[in-house]
Amino acid sequence: MLNRFMQSRLQGLVVLTLILIILPAFLSNPFHYELATQIAILAATVVGLNLLVGFAGQISLGHAGFFGLGAYFSGIATGTYGWPSVPALVAGAIIVGIIAWIVGRPILRLKGHYLSMATLAVGFIIAIILNNERAITGGPDGMPVPAFEVFGWELSPFGTYSLFGLEISGVQAWYMFSSVILLLAVWFALNLIQSPIGRALRSVKGSEVAASVVGVDTAKYKSLVFVISAIYASLMGGLYAHFQGFITPAIASFEFSILFITMVVLGGMGSTFGVILGAVVLKLLPQVLADFQDLEHVMFGLILMLTMIFMPKGLLPTLTAAVSKRIRKKTGGEA
């Protein structure tokens, strides 16, 4: 029974669900919930980015651009034009998907550093547009975003709600909502990876020639995964905007793109649950290190550097390998 569970496709999803259910026991104030919600949204974003980077082996240093576009589309459509939240999210995702497809088609012919440069430029262009179109985006000062609402029912971090007779705060409600979103994001990603499409994507990373001679249209699959990861970013950007209630072009900035990529690399490229851990660590570490004041950034950089030197495969893959090695030793060396 336990053995079957270990081999099951969805064991990770079950564990993640349990963690998300148990976690509130350790969250003692609204700030904790806020942090947890932010982490869930960012984690879902990097689960999408990991499809591109970790599985298909392509890089994007401009993913915050898509995240920012989604955020601003939701902000402008709901705030300025009074659209309902969900249609705004969906429309934003479709538009970002189309933009990613148009941009991705030519630039995904590039490889390695050249692809990095091209995606970097895409991110920069989006950030510049968001900064300069003051009339629409509010420029560098940012813009307010209305609360998320579904069919007239508003989900605000500042509200209070009742769930099965229990009174919960707005941030608690957001935590639950973002947890469900994260689980969905993971479920879709797992389904995608373990399918013919997912195999084709991974083969692009493994060997492009091998993929092409068995009939994989590698250019098409690279574009497809670029679009999918951009749509993930757009949807999560939109939710992030609603949750924060205020957005600035900083969320589309180069620094934010680097943060996303670092979450993927640190957590473990090609490991869906690893990149979630990457998001958790990178978001929590600055909080933990805040006590060191002036040395905060030095410590942050040092930890990242040491992790990459001693765990080049990323946190989760290295840890699980170490644990399964110990278990094997205990059970008497059976493979």
């Binding site: 013919p196 499409i197 997912g198 195999r199 991974r202 060997s207 020639v209 068995v214 009939g215 994989v216």
Partner: protein, 252 residues
């Protein structure tokens, strides 16, 4: 009857070097057709041209009567051509069986919707593909690696895995680039047996190989290249007695 693979006046120049020059030949369906020649004779270049990885400088290649000039490797795969590589191309980020299942790519048309929700139709097709891939791994003789990561396999087993992947695509013609390179005598004998079995299934086999005993034993016809040009073409018997070939091989 038209030839399955027809090559006419093929030329490939890398800068000033003609790797392949004025090569013409044709392969009938069902044949085992081997390309031999000294190192640097242009054999692998020829295979890369036929499978669409290189674009010819001049000349024409026809697959089943259709010109392949504008076709990408994946489109050639759709038309029934598959190959293995001298420098093995295995996806080391996947398991052994997933590498073979990748070969089923063209048979497993699936859309994004059924994939994202993992609908029963997809699960059913995946199950069938996995079963077929396992059969093929047994067939080529790497059944011991059904549960293994590709990165955990030996060199000889990976060579056979590549053949299994190519067979998974259900090709009409399969091109094997030096399948015996690096194999010991026992493994080579097993490979010879395997190529015979593949040919008996009615799959046309094109072979680049240095092992003369292997080549002479299983080929219906041979093409001998030297410095990118055709030195001789014919049955193993004709090639063996050709004075030019003897001179090139023995350094006369």
């Amino acid at each position: 009857m038209t030839a399955l693979v027809e090559v006419k006046g093929l030329d490939k120049a890398f800068g000033g070097v003609h790797a392949v020059e004025g090569v013409s030949f044709s392969v009938e369906a069902g044949q085992v057709y081997s390309v031999i020649g000294p190192n640097g004779a242009g054999k692998t270049t020829l295979f890369n041209l036929i499978t669409g990885l290189y674009t010819p400088t001049k000349g024409e290649i026809r697959l089943n009567g259709e010109s392949t000039a504008k076709l990408e490797p994946n489109q050639l795969a759709e038309r029934g051509m598959c190959r293995t590589f001298q420098q093995m191309q295995i996806c080391m980020n996947m398991t052994a069986i997933e590498n073979v299942m990748l070969g089923r790519h063209l048979q497993l048309k699936s859309n994004l919707f059924t994939t994202l929700f993992r609908l029963p139709s997809l699960r059913h097709n995946e199950e069938a593909a996995r079963k077929r891939a396992a059969e093929l791994m047994e067939y080529v003789g790497c059944g011991d690696y059904l549960g293994a990561e590709a990165s955990a396999m030996s060199y000889g087993a990976l060579k056979r895995l590549e053949i299994a992947r190519a067979l998974a695509a259900e090709p009409k013609v399969i091109l094997l680039d030096e399948p015996a390179a690096g194999l010991n005598a026992v493994e080579t004998a097993a490979l010879e047996e395997l190529i015979r079995k593949i040919a008996q299934q009615g799959i046309t086999v094109m072979l680049v190989e240095h092992d003369m005993k292997l080549v002479m034993g299983i080929s219906d016809r041979l093409l001998v290249l030297n410095y990118g040009r055709v030195l001789a073409e014919g049955t193993p018997e004709e090639i063996r007695q050709n004075p030019d070939v003897i001179a090139a091989y023995l350094g006369g």
